[in-house]
Subunit: 196 residues, 2 copies
């Protein structure tokens, strides 16, 4: 891939904030309503949804297979394939959260944990940020113990099966699909760099 990535765009000036209040606050999530000055002379309402940052991690076993979890998601009611993910606890590092979720959701211990590109899942309305990882040389152990609020099970798939799932359009969880695409893309980059 011979292309050069564009430089970042010249930053715009932030909107001046005229007022800010929480219309809802809880330990789990909060909702803020700001009044901002767009330069139009009329204050504009802007909602910001606040939730703790999260991690998302692709578990790769020693034999190269990838662990997916079949998970029920209450907000839309579907059960589908994802990779382990979850919010970062207070005082916890992103890497520690990834190791914890690997154990809880996929029942594996990571060999090596490598950062993938991180992302804002919904940056029009939230600064929620997801730290992405790939865990290689994972070893299955008996630590699998989902939270009470989780309905899920883990299963290992060949990388080509996971690629086919992405291509099928049925992997509808954005965290999972984006982490997996980044993982496969960086694997391809590594393979290209290894060529003589």
């Amino acid at each position: 891939m011979p292309g050069k990535a564009p430089d970042e765009p010249e930053p715009f000036e932030p909107f001046p904030v005229l007022e800010s209040e929480h219309v809802y606050a809880s330990d789990w999530c909060s909702l803020r309503r700001d009044m901002v000055d767009l330069g139009t002379g009329k204050p504009q309402e802007y909602h910001v949804f606040e939730v703790p940052d999260a991690i998302c991690v692709v578990p790769v076993l020693e034999d190269g297979r990838i662990m997916l979890i079949g998970q029920y998601r209450y907000p839309h009611g579907h059960t589908h394939w994802e990779v382990p993910a979850g919010r970062i606890s207070a005082g916890e590092s992103p890497a520690a959260a990834a190791a914890r979720e690997l154990a809880e959701e996929a029942g594996v211990r990571p060999g090596e944990l490598r950062e993938l590109p991180s992302f804002y899942p919904i940056n029009g309305i939230s600064d929620h940020f997801v730290h992405a990882f790939v865990a290689t040389h994972c070893v299955q152990d008996d630590s699998h113990r989902p939270d009470d609020s989780e309905r899920l099970f883990a299963r290992a798939f060949e990388p080509d099966e996971v690629r086919a799932l992405l291509r099928s359009g049925r992997m509808r969880d954005a965290f999972s699909a984006l982490c997996l695409f980044h993982h496969f893309d960086l694997e391809a980059a590594d393979a290209a760099n290894d060529q003589p």
Copy 2:
């Protein structure tokens, strides 16, 4: 790619809902707090953030270049590269919303509009759903008129520059990165199918 995509996992039974109330409601977004029965005997609180569904669209010009927009995002304060996106208005189809955002944000009219895999950006806490598209044979016109609340400008890049941007990890808007990965992946699938 010889892999077969896994079948969908066996669906779990949904959590029975004991109570449901909106702790905040507005035209822009709402926040619901449900009490659900996880089968543990103790009601569990579950928040669901409600926002209208959205579209995200990759604009490809006649000459193959891809239009990106340099956009300021109020929730995190950064200006970065994205593809056009926005919520679907009441009564509007996803395709019509995509055409509208292409005009407003990228200043282009689509030739052909094709669906990409759609996704839930944050399905642990919201059923918010994004309909993704690629618009090919786009023609630039003078319809560029961002909303008052938008600070953005459009620029065309070679596909390899956009691939390099994805690989750099600096495309941190999940809508954009995921749509672009799906677009490049399906292009590669089409190219493979065309081979004799």
